[in-house]
């Protein structure tokens, strides 16, 4: 689950920053469709992650091939502060949060 969460963080970060060129580092995990979905549904995902459930989370889980959606949703909610450190996370903030979390 921790890996999945990191993948998701990466997707969110890349999508937020519009940095598709960074994705080669995570080519295996960042699938284009998931990235597109996250980029187009930032606000609704943020709201659903805060609430701990929702159709957009379910959709993301399907795109990332995650079977245990309940656990996925709960993990995202529990890690809300890591995913959304600040209102307008800068590149440095977000990367720091990812590397800190993946250690």
């Amino acid at each position: 689950m921790k890996n999945i969460l990191m993948n998701l963080l990466t997707i969110m970060v890349l999508s937020t920053l519009g940095m598709s060129d960074v994705s080669h580092k995570n080519k295996s995990i960042v699938n284009e469709r998931a990235k597109e979905f996250v980029a187009s549904n930032m606000y609704i995902l943020k709201k659903e992650i805060a609430m701990g459930h929702g159709e957009s989370i379910d959709t993301l889980a399907e795109l990332l091939n995650i079977k245990n959606v309940a656990l996925f949703s709960a993990s995202l909610q529990a890690n809300y502060n890591r995913i959304y450190m600040t209102q307008n996370g800068t590149i440095a903030d977000v990367f720091n949060s990812i590397s800190a979390a993946s250690m």
Binding site: R33, F37, S40, N41, Y43, I44, K46, K47, I49, A50, M51, G52, H53, E55, S56, D58, T59, E62, L63, S73, A74, Q77, Y80, N81, Y84, T86, Q87, N88
Partner: protein, 565 residues
Amino acid sequence: MVNGESEIDDVQFFFASDGKTNAKSELDATLDALFQEKSFDDNSSACKFPARKAWLKEKLNINDFAKVTCKKYDDTLKKLNPKSATLVYPSAHISSPTSMFGHTLIRINSGYNSRLLSYAVNYAAEVESKKTSMFMYATKGLTGGFSGSYSLLPYYEKLKEYRDTEQRDIWEYDLNLSEEEVLRMFMHIWELKNTKSDYYFFTENCSYNMLWFLEIARPSIHLREHFGYDIIPLETVHAAKEENIVESVNYRASKRSILLKYEELLSDENMHLPRNLVESKIELNTVVDNKNIDKQQKRYILEAALEFLEYSFAKHYISEEKYLSLFHNMTKARAALGSGEKLNVEVPQDPLDSHRALRVSAGAGYRDNKPIGFLGIRPAHHDLEDSNYGFLRGSQIEFLNLQLSYAENNVSVEEATILSAASLNQRSEFFDNFSWRAKTGWDRDYMGEKANFISTVGAGYSWGNKLAYIYLMADPLFYSTEKIVTAIGGSLGLVIDKFSYMNTNLELTRRWYDTREEQWLAEASQNFRVSQNLQLKFKYDYGEKQYLEIKEKRETLRAVLNYYF
């Protein structure tokens, strides 16, 4: 193709110069183009017109068309991965006159379970809303002055538009089309996506084109034959049901319905907190750190606040800066409260079970103690006394309503409405909309022997609960009789609509004319929904008009049977 003429208006759609009207020369030109391709990539004729190629291949058994590679087409097809199709009906949007007939679109479902990953086929008039006045809008809409075009959009984008911004409940009717049928439809949509057709509100509108796609998917169905002169979006869904292609139904609550559900779940003492948070009247920590509010109520407060925040932003009530900062702080506070109860919005009555658009009526009764008979016809669509089953509460839209009466060997016009509409919008914690209604046509409320032309637009407020709603309206109006008379009317109404099998409508009106005439009008009706398309109505109405000592009075009691089809 209708009467030998194609309904596509764009010359790019045809190979032959007379392709719109001459099917034979279009066929020859198409065959030429496919055999003698000039380019062999996305620009080739075969890549632009895959449906025609597939059709010719099958019908004429041709296997030696020029070989081409269609990268764009293949990529799109791979991404859409069409498996099944759904007819989507975003229902009427409260208080917007142009949406009151609703809208329909086709959704092409992919192999994913999530319906958010499917694509919507959208056909819409290109209206530059800021530059188009209501008058131009109506004129162009009726005469085909707008150009309509197709687009394929991710379904989640359509949901943002209809469910979130316009707050329309969405009904999804899954169709029993096979994968092969859906693919055929996709190929056809591909051919059309860069072409334009003239858009007519009542005939070649969004819904008409959807019917066309469905007929292409399955040529044995004849949806368009269900329609004569006008196409009301909801009627297309009824037609699909009659052709037995609707398999199942799914409801998505609009942002409005979601907020109304939170109003039910919030306790009285917490009711104002979400709005106060969004309007920055209280700080977030006064809710989060309050030990007297239980945890689930805190979750509801924050969730409702988030929904209301999004609503307020969509309505431009708050700035983007404020929206972003509140959104961030509220989601953060909500995440800290862990997962809670999922919101469960009850599924409303299915619009497919609502009465049809065309109404005929016959009735009999007494007017001033003398027998009188009534006959009526109304092509579209719904008034407040019709059964509200499956309709948006408090909404009315009527087009060309004609009611005749017969008494003492005289036929008279009781009512001839050109257009009437109403949106009685109940006010609540999150919604402080006003209500409005408008009518133009002929009626007999001015008393006298015949119907007079009236035009009126009024506004007011409405409040309601589960049992009923009331409304208070002020309606300025004018009548054209021998001369023009103007008046202001004040109405108080009550509609009891809790029970699906009946509704009770009461309205009392006082009018003051510039001629110093004064008037009382009262109506009371008890309406029973006998079945989906049959209504039994008992109605009493009273009118009086007084000028100095002269007083006219009229009382009518009637029983009417309404049949809808």
